[in-house]
Symmetry: C2
Subunit: 358 residues, 2 copies
């Protein structure tokens, strides 16, 4: 992939990410027990100089993890008593101005809020300085896309050689993420990672029995080509640099001769969970298809819009590119309005907890 | 003062601060030898776990301190060899999106860049975790203004009770800044603080023998009242929450029973320096008054514009407020164009180095 394209992928700015992603907050709230368990197992000897350092990697605007961070800070204060450093991290293109405002109340007596613009594909913190590394709904983003997909927008719809290229990239990226964390963690430090997955029954984000969200994305984008709104080249460029790993793929580098196991990371627990789409749940209660579409489409936009926009030729004027993207989500909204049943962006995650053994 | 007004004071956003402030960069480059000296005196035993932590407090967009930070990182790597954490700090309203981009190349192998949105009037870092605290051209900003000035825009033109209120605020604020730093510093850690001052000959920023910049600000702002462009109330509200301390005022809390001395801070060196206005120097070479005004006014705007804007009544439309501010700097530019001789924003700073003795 072109690096520049990866760098242009962002979550919605201006705090809109957390407003539109009540589901993502539910996902993180569900991880709070793992976080508290992790804090309970970090050995007191690991917390040098009385400062406990935790990170929230790929935090976007910080709004979805506020509850988890407060729970973690409370648990740390109760167990260790000393100061806590909370390091919010995301890539360089994140909206840090929104982030610092949204999380400003996390700081205060004994709690020091810091920010990093270093990607989790690099070393964020100094070696041995991290006690609890957390990340939710972020590490499905690959460091780049190995190829454009000829017939789909997402690797879940890829086949053959293209699929294998994505799987290989995902393997390399997962190992890279884990090795950087192994380096950052203090001995006895822990990781709680919540990552999109394909579960044991083949389910994944937006594909839990009803309409397949990515198939819908793809069908509409294909239709835009057929109607002449976008070119074949733009169709292919719309390839999400994401991969949903299986439980086996998550586990591989953490077992036996795996690189992460060799670096001292031990997998303590892993389970997959489905967190239901809050907008589809609301629709079941109110039954208003228009209202459903209006609430549902923004949550899809938060994470996909910058990729659709980036796929459009720069030969087009900026306004034209924006208009095509608007048309696309309008078309998705129309599909939801006319046949609302089955639309749902249920979240399917692997919840993992690991520790650094030495 | 109203807290909300203090919170609205910002340096220019979008990276314009460092572009317009070549002089501020010269000021910081001049501090590099003190920084290198400080690093040379931090005891190896203070650098626990091999990580050396430095901060740049009040960094704005980070552009003016790039050279100093690189010199510091080099000195740390040479002396200690381990990892370096560089913590850029500024208040919540700073433009962090510009900052993270401007300093992105500071990070890399063994150098970890972090950001804090905590003011230097609060605890930025955990106790005992800082090895070198740096700040330049920032700590003249008070935590608030104790009163509006009836007949000037800056405390340098205040008298009587008003002046005493500002001096008292500056005393309390300086002590607060130092006590927070004493808490943050590891034993043997050092501070290099470069702060606007009034030197032994009564000189201060923009008042080094030629036109007094603040008198010029005040005269023009007064003229705006006389011409009916701004109200008497708006005139008074334009009171910069700044104070230029004398060497004696800087020294007071660091001596004898002073609170900072009691907290373990020792003043190692202090001198005042004048760094000449680069735009006035250019003018001497090229002699073009128009060109001078065009280069000079933006550097005044970077730090004063948000205060002038904030002084204007919110009953005015935003566009009207912007237009008045534009008119004001245009009037200043006209004054420079018609009588360029003597205009200069020479910087007058106290350069201080301190250490935490225990």
């Amino acid at each position: 992939m072109s690096t520049s394209q990866a760098e242009n992928i962002t979550m919605s700015a201006g705090g809109r990410y957390s407003l539109a992603t009540a589901g993502a907050r539910d996902v993180i709230d569900g991880a709070a027990p793992l976080v508290v368990r992790a804090i309970g197992e970090v050995p007191a000897a690991a917390v040098k100089a009385g400062v406990f350092t935790m990170s929230d990697m790929g935090c976007a605007d910080g709004g979805t993890s506020l509850g988890m961070v407060r729970a973690a800070v409370g648990a740390v204060r109760e167990r260790f008593g000393g100061a806590v450093a909370v390091v919010y991290t995301d890539q360089l293109r994140n909206d840090f101005n929104a982030l610092v405002h949204i999380v400003q109340d996390v700081g205060g007596d004994g709690v020091h809020t810091l920010f990093s613009a270093t990607s989790f594909y690099d070393a964020i913190l100094p070696p041995g300085s991290l006690h609890l590394g957390f990340s939710a709904t972020a590490m499905h983003w690959l460091s780049g896309k190995p190829c454009d997909l000829a017939a789909h927008v997402h690797a879940v719809g890829a086949a053959g050689d293209e699929r294998e290229k994505f799987a290989a990239q995902a393997r390399a990226d997962w190992q890279k993420i884990l090795l950087h964390r192994a380096e950052e963690l203090a001995p006895g430090g822990q990781l709680v990672l919540v990552v999109f997955c394909i579960d044991g029954r083949g389910r994944y984000l937006g594909n839990t029995g009803g309409v397949n969200m990515f198939a819908q994305f793809n069908a509409l984008w294909r239709r835009f080509v057929d109607e002449g709104a976008v070119t074949e080249e733009e169709y292919r460029a719309m390839t999400l640099p994401q991969f949903y790993r299986t439980v086996e793929e998550f586990r591989a580098p953490l077992e036996g001769e795996g690189a992460a196991a060799q670096a001292g990371l031990e997998l303590l627990e892993m389970e997959t969970r489905i967190v239901p789409c809050p907008f589809a749940a609301d629709f079941k209660a109110h039954g208003d298809a228009g209202k459903f579409a209006e609430a549902y489409i923004p949550t899809l936009r938060t994470w996909s819009e910058s990729v659709f926009y980036g796929a459009l030729s720069t030969a087009r004027a900026e306004g034209e590119r924006r208009a095509i993207v608007d048309d696309f989500y309008r078309a998705y909204g129309d599909a939801v309005r006319s046949h609302p049943a089955g639309h749902a962006m249920d979240y399917v995650h692997a919840y993992m907890r690991m520790r650094k053994t030495r």
